[in-house]
């Protein structure tokens, strides 16, 4: 490992999240090691999306720290966290429907390459060059995720499976070190799920750490290095897939859902 490459990309210590009287996350402690794929599972309402929102800066935790590469980030706003190198997708796809597929990914490059308002208005040569670089990066990503043939289409016109891929592509454009995927397989059929899983593995193979929330157990068992199980905002189990599969506490939490 080179200097400055921390063992843990993400560390949560004592994270508590309360909304009014409701405790959504309760004293959460866990780490995500660099280069791993870690999945967060749990019954509905367990607090998974709240956890994502805290990590990515939608709101600060009521208590506790979130450290990214050793630096605390829990007080930072979402756009600053994105600048630091964390990217995310959303549970219900939040694409920019008023733009094309290509433009969505180009927006993903925003944290890396920016032009000022005035420079944009006067179309200075420097901003033209930047725009060219952005376009090239975006096209490369579209090739990587297999959507290059639809680059001119409106993002709204894509079927759900491709929309999810596009959202992942957009998240890749910022060259993140950690990518947080919120239910990447939700609503997908068998083929689409397979494509999504392969993509996630390919992303991980490039050295990007992946944290994902998912309900589809096949996917989770297949691609994760480690699984964390949440129930009522608390960690009830953490470990490699086979440990989780056999854990009585986990089976009990899911009893009735018939998902394991």
């Amino acid at each position: 490992m080179s200097a400055g490459m921390e063992e843990n990309v993400l560390e949560l210590q004592g994270v508590v999240m309360t909304f009014g009287g409701l405790m959504a996350l309760s004293n959460l402690n866990f780490n995500v090691r660099r280069g791993m794929i870690k999945a967060i599972i749990g019954p509905n309402g367990a607090g998974k999306t709240t956890l994502f929102n805290v990590i990515t800066g939608s709101f600060p935790p009521t208590k506790g720290t979130v450290k990214f590469k050793g630096q605390p980030i829990q007080h930072l706003k979402a756009h600053k966290i994105a600048d630091r190198g964390i990217s995310r997708t959303f549970q219900t796809v939040e694409l920019f429907g008023n733009m094309t597929v290509l433009e969505n990914v180009m927006l993903g490059c925003y944290t890396r390459i920016r032009t000022s308002f005035m420079a944009s208005g006067f179309v200075l040569p420097r901003s033209r060059r930047k725009e060219k670089r952005i376009k090239e990066s975006a096209l490369k990503i579209l090739k990587f995720i297999g959507l290059i043939h639809k680059f001119k289409d409106s993002a709204d016109s894509l079927p759900l499976g491709e929309q999810k891929l596009l959202e992942i592509g957009r998240a890749l454009a910022s060259e993140p070190e950690l990518i947080c995927l919120d239910e990447p397989a939700a609503g997908l059929n068998e083929t689409e799920t397979h494509v999504a899983s392969s993509l996630i593995r390919a992303i991980n193979a490039k050295g990007i750490t992946v944290l994902l929330v998912e309900h589809d157990m096949k996917v989770v068992m297949n691609i994760s290095d480690e699984i964390l199980v949440l129930n009522y905002g608390q960690k009830i189990a953490e470990g490699p897939p086979q440990n989780i599969r056999n854990s009585p506490r986990v089976i009990e939490a899911y009893l009735g859902a018939g998902e394991v």
Binding site: T56, F90, L95, F96, E103, Y110, F117, K130
Partner: protein, 317 residues
């Protein structure tokens, strides 16, 4: 909607250049260039507002205030202190920018109706100030004797000359705005409009952008105000009332909120309606505006810019 090609802009600019010459030869529309001067001045305001409302998704019902601040600063500094009008224009824009930041920063954190009300209240407060600070502004009677514009000895003292001056500014601002829309910055704006959480997740500082666009639209309105003052050589508070802010809204809604061409078309139509076509039906004026706004809101949400899409939809059936 987005591929704003260069050709239509060139054609439009040409049409604008040729128009006064044409109007001169048709007695019925000889006075149209005068109306077009006002249309141009209002276009400066509506272009900025269109960026704010159609692209950044924010609303302002108080923009008459910025129009007025520019007008009154130009009026006061040139008439009472004899300062150079061009310098005063820039001073007006700078002051307006500061006011816009002071008002915009807390307001743009608000959403929807709260933002609308905040801008409305701000607009009315400024209007009251124009009426009450009689020592500075001349109060309800207004200020007259505002000098015209001169550049290196060339006087803009005819309708035609002022027409070219104003529309020169409009076309320049139009090109600037279009460039912004088609750039990465414009992409960020459209992202904000489509999904603020996703924009934030991609590193866009949404609050800063909203203020930026707000200030840009305010500065354009201030420029328009200065041009207005030097054209009429007279200003009074009644021009900058709540109803004018609403008229600006109608111009944008009519043309189409999500389209910068829409702002130009809508502004032109409403200006002609106001200064020319409704001239003899003054009692109906307000009713007509209300009816237009209601009609557009309920039946034509994309304004006139949405008409080609609707017609295409008919043909597909």
């Amino acid at each position: 909607m987005l591929r704003i090609a260069k050709l239509p802009i060139a054609v439009f600019a040409l049409a604008i250049m040729v128009f006064p010459w044409t109007a001169h030869r048709i007695p019925a529309i000889e006075h149209y260039p005068d109306i077009m001067v006002f249309a141009g001045i209002y276009c400066l305001i509506t272009m900025g507002l269109s960026l704010l409302m159609g692209y950044a998704g924010q609303i302002s019902i108080g923009h008459a205030a910025f129009f007025g601040i520019g007008a009154y600063i130009s009026a006061i500094l040139t008439t009472n202190y004899g300062m150079n009008p061009w310098a005063c224009m820039v001073i007006g824009m700078a002051v307006t920018a500061v006011v816009a930041v002071l008002v915009g920063a807390p307001s743009l954190k608000l959403r929807g109706h709260y933002l609308a009300m905040a801008t409305l209240a701000f607009g009315i407060i400024i209007f009251i100030i124009f009426n009450e600070e009689i020592e500075w502004t001349g109060g309800p009677d207004g200020m007259s004797g505002i000098p015209g514009l001169t550049l290196f000895g060339f006087e803009f003292n005819s309708v035609e000359r002022y027409y070219y001056l104003v529309w020169g500014f409009v076309i320049a601002a139009f090109i600037f705005t279009v460039n912004v829309i088609q750039s990465g910055t414009g992409r960020a704006l459209r992202a904000i409009h489509a999904s603020e959480p996703a924009a934030r997740a991609m590193g866009v500082d949404v609050s800063r952008f909203k203020i930026l666009v707000f200030v840009y639209s305010a500065v354009l309105a201030s420029l328009a105000g200065s041009l207005y003052a030097h054209y009429l050589n007279f200003v009074n508070p009644a021009t900058f009332d709540l109803f004018f802010s609403i008229k600006l809204l109608i111009m944008i809604a009519l043309g189409g909120m999500h389209n910068i061409w829409g702002a130009i078309v809508g502004t032109g139509l409403i200006t002609f309606l106001s200064n020319e076509w409704l001239h003899y039906f003054e009692e109906f004026e307000v009713i007509v505006y209300g009816a237009i706004l209601l009609f557009v809101t309920v039946l034509l949400p994309e304004g006139l810019a949405g008409v080609p899409g609707i017609v295409k939809g008919w043909f597909r059936r």
